[in-house]
């Protein structure tokens, strides 16, 4: 399928071949699922909502609920205001969520629907809430959408109601799996720190099978907690692209200082998270976590010779890719091709902080490695890079499988979406435990390849 990808790289200006990103609204939908009893609502054509639900369903293998304004020709000529008002009425009448989280689409953005006014003048039942965020698909990526919806949670819901701040931390996990959010919460609980994690999709898109279908599973950040984020002592934003905007907004709105860290993938980023928490809350790192770290270091030393000097290509979402780059460097690997589809800056609405290319290049430079790094790239280009300089391992989402097949590369699936494997969303890649899991995944991929390719005389029992 990829036999037409040439080695020679020419500048392309006509768009994308085989994207490494998707559009904002799906990120907003995913973030909104992380509020307890929330129904995400897509203000646009039916197809958008249907595609996002389908894509999320394929990744999480769980029902994904969201409603749509079902735009028709009339709506796109006269504006979607009437559709949104009807939708708000119907959603509360039929699906009865506590909160409805509206996001826009390229269509409603281009028409210019004024959502704040529409929501203000809509019939919203007593005690129910409607929030919204702008997610024009022609800016940023799904990560921008996640960031925007999370920021809107702050805009609409966070309140500073107390004189002095509470001894609790807000943690914004970024666009990660529910398995990762569970692991973050476990770490916080183990440290004995009171926390509000938002958005929190654990217990929503990884809800247990009970034989009964519930539209709003037990998970998700509670509304009371979202309000209370304004009273927290500090916010820790994990991943600058997905989480920093909301944290900075919380600082502006409620005077809660923001600390922006990497997504805690790998030993260094996890250390930094724990150190930040320790210094903010003057708690000791409990033995349980020290032990985990010790185990991780033990595993790293046990396996380092498998990894050393191996060349890696990593692609996916910026926060994940940045942290993963740091982690493979700590294993002695050489991430020579690093790419995200998300553009470097999100544009007017998604004013994301962070500079992917500089940050990754900084890590590579520190390690003395020369590599190609790009934000706003596509998989066609990544494939070309690989053709020009071979790698031993490819790390990225499901779409990497075409390149892995074309170039016969071992492939570790990481990030979003993963459409061809299951269980991934239940287990963490963050924290020390997550790092152990990643080492297992990477070394299995490399060693299985070594076994497959070994001549009879080189085929070994002990590796």
């Amino acid at each position: 399928m990829l036999d037409c990808t040439p080695k020679e790289i020419k500048t392309r200006t006509g768009g994308v071949i085989n994207p490494a990103k998707t559009c904002q609204p799906i990120g907003a939908m995913y973030a909104a699922l992380g509020i307890h009893k929330c129904l995400p609502h897509s203000h646009g054509s039916q197809g958008c909502c249907s595609y996002h639900r389908m894509h999320l369903t394929r990744h999480f293998r769980d029902p994904i609920m969201a409603s749509t304004s079902s735009f028709t020709e009339g709506a796109s000529v006269f504006g979607g205001g009437a559709n949104l008002k009807t939708a708000i009425k119907n959603v509360f009448a039929i699906y009865n969520p506590d909160i409805m989280a509206v996001h826009t689409t390229c269509l409603s953005e281009t028409i210019g629907d004024d959502l704040p006014t529409l929501i203000r003048t809509a019939e919203i039942p007593e005690g129910k809430l409607v929030i919204h965020t702008n997610t024009p698909s022609y800016q940023g990526s799904h990560i921008t959408g996640f960031s925007n919806m999370t920021k809107s949670m702050v805009n609409y819901l966070s309140e500073a109601t107390l004189e002095s701040k509470k001894e609790q931390v807000n943690v914004i996990p970024g666009f990660v799996n529910p398995g990762d959010m569970r692991e973050m919460k476990r770490i916080l609980r183990t440290m004995g720190i009171k926390f509000i994690l938002f958005p929190d999709t654990s217990g929503v898109v990884d809800s247990p099978m009970t034989g009964e279908y519930v539209m709003y599973p037990r998970g998700g950040t509670r509304l009371a907690d979202l309000k209370d984020t304004g009273n927290s002592k500090v916010t820790v934003a994990l991943g600058s692209y997905a989480s920093a905007d909301a944290a900075n907004q919380l600082e502006r709105k409620c005077d809660v200082p923001a600390i922006v860290l990497k997504t805690p993938i790998g030993i260094k980023a996890t250390d930094q998270l724990l150190m930040a928490l320790r210094s903010q809350f003057t708690v000791e790192i409990p033995y349980e976590l020290e032990e985990e770290r010790g185990q991780l270091v033990d595993i790293m030393t046990d396996t380092h010779f498998h990894f050393h000097g191996k060349k890696v290509a990593i692609f996916g979402d910026p926060d994940i890719v940045l942290a993963m780059t740091e982690f493979v460097l700590s294993l002695g690997m050489q991430p020579i091709h690093v790419l995200t589809g998300t553009p470097a800056t999100g544009g007017a609405i998604g004013t994301m902080v962070g500079n992917f290319e500089d940050e990754v290049q900084g890590l590579l430079k520190e390690a003395g490695i020369a590599g190609k790094v790009k934000a706003g790239g596509d998989l066609f280009e990544l494939h070309q890079w690989i053709k020009n300089e071979k790698v031993d391992l490819l790390i990225g989402n499901t779409y990497g499988k075409y390149i892995a097949r074309a170039e016969d590369l071992p492939f570790v699936r990481l990030g979003f979406p993963i459409l061809d494997r299951s269980v991934h969303s239940y287990l963490p890649v963050v924290g020390y435990k997550g790092a152990m899991r990643l080492i297992e995944m990477i070394s299995n991929a490399l060693l299985e390849r070594a076994d497959r390719d070994a001549k009879d005389e080189d085929f070994e029992l002990v590796m």
Binding site: S45, Q46, C48, H52, S70, F71, A87, N90, N96
Partner: protein, 448 residues
């Protein structure tokens, strides 16, 4: 409690879209727009166009719009190719803010130039998305200029998402196909016993199975629309002397137009299940009025039926009395599935479609037993309610329905893009039975 409250409040508008056979006299409301605020399982115009055209294997399928529309449809169709794999790539103009403000025409032209330079294609389909319809890019003009520049065909697909539902997208795709197959002045002369096979997208290789049956009865498939089709074959489409239509929802319009324009008659057929497969083959033979062909059909039907009957019987004994719920895209599939389930002893207790047409719902209503719930454009809550109420053991549906069924402890089979085994023809009937058995009789349900 939620259940009761919910049902009390179901909108009046939705009430007409759900009927129980034998209980209501009124006709089912279908083929209408979804209610705003519904968790609809439906898609958009672009989606309809994309699913119909995407299986054209050697075309460049370029999506003109922001990135999402291309991302979500990247290689999800499940249609197989015996030749080019070009259609499995994802091409997008990836429109940005400045393109939306200043227009995307220049970027589109550049995209076509770059892709044509990169890939050996004779046809480019350019899909318009919601935003293109609003910012007013002149797709026709850009495509025309590009076609002249590169001396290949560049065909716009008018599929702005908001301009109707998925069915409108089928129509947009058919219009694009009609432009492609339009014969040149010299014309193409029709060949006897040669047919076009419309509305099969070669999921899991289904077109190949049907082609093989038809070859055995002396009928040559000229081209399938659009499963495993390519430029050359489609160009020659008007050489057929008959069109047969599997998925009427997506292809009836094309068949009608080809009849008007080129005088090619058409037949509705269905190769799902033993009964419909046999009937369809007979229908084709009697259309040609060829006695030898009729004899071959009977021979094939007898042989293939004999081959699969014992296996189906084995499954029937194990599945007898189970109840199925069906929620699929189009009406033709729903109709065939009712009969097919009967063949393996399963009753259909709930049935619905996303885009079924009035005629199809009438047939469905005739086929099903009293008490069966029939619903159009259902939302997940409705599916849940009726599956539970009717005691369904199995749901047939697509991607979004699968986890819903599982959460209820109900078995599931995909009769959509994600199917992994061919479900057409005699062999498909066995595959379906096997899939039903595999999911219904799995030990995992004991742990629910």
């Amino acid at each position: 409690m939620r259940e009761a409250a919910l049902w009390d409040m179901v909108l009046k508008e939705r009430k007409n879209s759900i009927i129980t056979k034998g209980k209501q006299k009124n006709q089912l409301k279908c083929d209408t727009d979804s209610v705003a605020g519904c968790v609809s399982q439906r898609a958009c115009v672009y989606c309809g166009a994309r699913v119909v055209l995407n299986p054209v294997t050697d075309a460049i399928h370029l999506v003109h719009g922001p990135i999402g529309c291309a991302s979500y449809t990247w290689d999800i169709r499940g249609s197989l190719s015996s030749g080019s794999e070009l259609y499995r790539n994802s091409f997008s103009t990836d429109l940005k803010e400045q393109d939306v403000i200043f227009g995307g025409e220049k970027k589109l032209a550049r995209a076509i130039d770059e892709l044509v330079a990169q890939y050996p294609a004779k046809v480019v389909f350019v899909y318009s998305t919601c935003i293109v319809g609003v910012i007013g890019d002149d797709l026709e003009a850009v495509c025309k200029a590009a076609a002249a520049r590169h001396q290949i065909e560049v065909i716009p697909v008018q599929s702005s998402g908001f301009a109707g539902n998925k069915a409108a997208g089928y129509r947009a795709a058919c219009d694009a196909l009609l432009r492609l197959i339009q014969p040149t002045q010299t014309g193409i002369s029709a060949r006897a016993n040669t047919i076009n096979y419309l509305g099969d997208f070669n999921l899991a290789g289904e077109v190949w199975i049907i082609k093989n049956y038809l070859r055995q009865i002396g009928v040559e498939v000229n081209v399938a629309f659009t499963g495993d089709s390519d430029y050359e074959a489609l160009k020659n489409a008007t050489a057929a002397s008959l069109n047969i239509i599997q998925c009427a929802g997506s292809m009836i319009y094309l068949a009608q137009r080809m009849k008007e324009l080129y005088g090619i008659p058409y037949l509705n057929i269905s190769f799902l299940g033993l009964e419909d497969t046999a009937e369809s083959l007979r229908k084709i033979a009697s259309h040609f009025g060829d006695e030898e062909m009729k004899r071959r059909v009977e021979e094939l039907v007898a042989r293939e039926t004999a081959r699969v009957k014992p296996t189906l019987e084995w499954y029937r004994r194990r599945l007898q009395g189970k109840k199925a719920a069906i929620y699929v895209g189009g009406g033709f599939k729903a109709i065939s599935l009712i009969k097919q389930f009967r063949e393996i002893g399963i009753d259909v207790v709930m049935i619905g479609t996303q885009t079924g047409r009035k005629e199809e719902y009438e047939i469905i209503n005739e086929l099903v037993d009293d008490g069966t719930v029939i619903l159009d454009d259902a939302n997940p809550s409705e599916l849940e309610k009726f599956m539970v109420e009717k005691g369904a053991h199995l749901l047939v549906g697509g991607v979004k329905e699968r986890p819903l069924a599982y959460k209820l402890g109900i078995a599931f089979i995909d009769h959509n893009h994600d199917r992994k085994h061919p479900l057409s023809g005699f062999v498909g009937a066995v595959n379906l039975a096997k899939e039903v058995y595999t999911t219904l009789c799995s030990p995992v349900w004991q742990y629910v």
